[in-house]
Symmetry: C3
Subunit: 256 residues, 3 copies
């Protein structure tokens, strides 16, 4: 099998032709990020998209957000509904302001993709306000505690503060993680990328540990995620993530 | 008393009508961030504004910065002078570049509010270059050491590096924290939000501890701040702040 | 010798006239950041530029990025080639998306500087795709391990994960740190600023330690870097950097 060139991989991933590379950054971007990272088969393209979208949205760089949203939609790797669901998940872990910008870009790039295809713009996805009953508060807390444990593999905190009560159990696990639009595995990729970008040690360790120990993300995939995130959020964040992965994996071994 | 709807709370906080919510993010933003966070009475709207402005300015999301600056000015919860003073405080803790953008937005939104009200734009607030004598260097260091202790409740560092001498004692505590435009309590809210957004453990612990141990921010308010910041800067940052609050509060208990 | 005023220093550093300062932020920016930080002789202007460009690019604030790129080029403190090389180094440590924006600004400001000087725009620097043979993969890993040790002063990691193999040894030390466009000392300034902005403790400690223990950056310069970065990325990040410097320096002492 012929090995794909960096340009070919760029074209496959981004769905448009690579720009001429005339600076050290551009040459390295093409040869390293496309030629040596996106080209690796050990992590799927769909998962790489979830991680990349998280990283570029967290980084606030206008053009990369546009390009990667366009590529994700244009390639069909992520549907519009999935991307909108990922925005909400991202909002919770990296904050609503950055999510607001990301969603605006998705709206525009979706319209662009539809137009390029000569489609009459499809109607915007219908939403179902009743999904998971966000207004059923008390039941949400109880169910939130169960889902907290399913996701995090540790007992739920006592909901004795606004953060743990109205935030973590009432909303994050009482609603968000139960939504049907993305699988738990998908949400793990977005979450691990979010906490790695934020790099506060405790959430980083906790989400890396549960992603690995649950088996939702394999060690090989997680190792690829470390490299992928290092490119998009920098090797400083990557090193912190790598350390968390090694620690979590060592603990997984000692539990076996 | 009738419970306010999410839409009503949005309107009260943002001072304009909520946009139609058609995506998971928009629905959740309205129902969770307005319906379940801004609606809570345990932290005042003014304090929530100081925290929110810090979070959106740190997050660099263009439209949320515009919207929250407009809302803060339009509501009258913060005066123009107070917001400009908050920009300076934010600059010191989150860096001058982001502050520069925030201040540009404040200028534009102030003009917009004045215009909407049919006011001839008021003259821009006069400034007093002599305030606190920023050029009286040696006295600033000595007084800075006193204010350092008043604010942080620990002895001032020996000013034997540029950071501690020209930075911390000479400027941050020798000038900034003494400025009259915001109360010490107000500065605590901005500072805690800033260090939580940055989430370096040592400044986070130090400012959370002094805010609580001084009594300037109550435990109940701090718990609300954790939830509020989790929404605007994400639950990863929120979790790190929550941990710092729990630690500081446990130490407060053992000191009693 | 007459002491330069803040306005004079602003003009020297930024290569344009200071705007009128009418807010607390603007007055303090001029008097503190220019009057008290850029004015200090203990760290060179060229090094301050490398640190500043890193900080403003990481902070995503549009106008400060423009202003500092323009000033760096216009002053001649950094050549176009050096700045483009710094973009690549920044990309690796703070992520490619932010670097992409920075490089776009450099293109535009370079054109502006050339136009202001009445130059026919010089041809864009030629690039040499063969430099350091980025495609010679196996040799890159071996040489990468050597350079890892030269830079970090500790043994190279076993390349048993994608991050350490394709990332750290294959690319970061197998290619990036060997590129000729910037000296190792220059790369240290960019790297320390990058890891301080990201403030993940492990990379922060590691790069601060090797910068000091190698002698590439003196303790006095590093102390200045702490103050300079505190202004541009905020005192929360600055405090984390300061702690890392103190720890590394104490260890340097005990090794002597």
């Amino acid at each position: 099998m012929a090995v794909a060139t960096s340009d070919q991989i760029f074209r496959e991933v981004m769905t448009f032709d690579p720009p001429e590379a005339t600076t050290p950054f551009e040459v390295a971007h093409r040869d390293f990020v496309y030629g040596r990272i996106w080209s690796r088969p050990e992590l799927g393209r769909r998962e790489r998209r979830l991680v990349t979208l998280t990283c570029v949205a967290a980084a606030d760089a206008p053009q990369p957000i546009i390009d990667h949203v366009y590529a994700a939609l244009s390639s069909g790797d992520l549907s519009l509904e999935e991307m909108l669901e990922a925005v909400l998940h991202f909002a919770v872990y990296c904050g609503w302001p950055k999510a607001s910008h990301l969603e605006g870009v998705i709206r525009m790039q979706h319209a662009r993709v539809q137009q390029e295809r000569g489609h009459t713009p499809a109607p915007w996805p219908a939403r179902d306000d009743d999904t998971l009953g966000i207004n059923d508060w008390r039941a949400g807390i109880a169910r939130g505690a169960e889902v907290f444990t399913e996701v995090n593999l540790v007992p739920a905190p006592v909901p004795d503060t606004p953060y743990t009560h109205a935030g973590i159990l009432g909303y994050v696990f009482g609603h968000l993680w139960q939504r049907p639009g993305l699988s738990r595995r998908d949400r793990r990729f977005v979450t691990v990328a979010c906490v790695a970008v934020c790099d506060a040690p405790i959430p980083l360790n906790s989400h890396v540990t549960s992603a690995l120990h649950s088996g939702d993300i394999s060690k090989q995939e997680m190792d690829e995620l470390v490299l992928h995130l290092s490119a998009y959020s920098g090797f400083a964040k990557g090193e912190a993530l790598r350390g968390a992965v090694e620690d979590a994996w060592a603990r997984a071994g000692s539990d076996r």
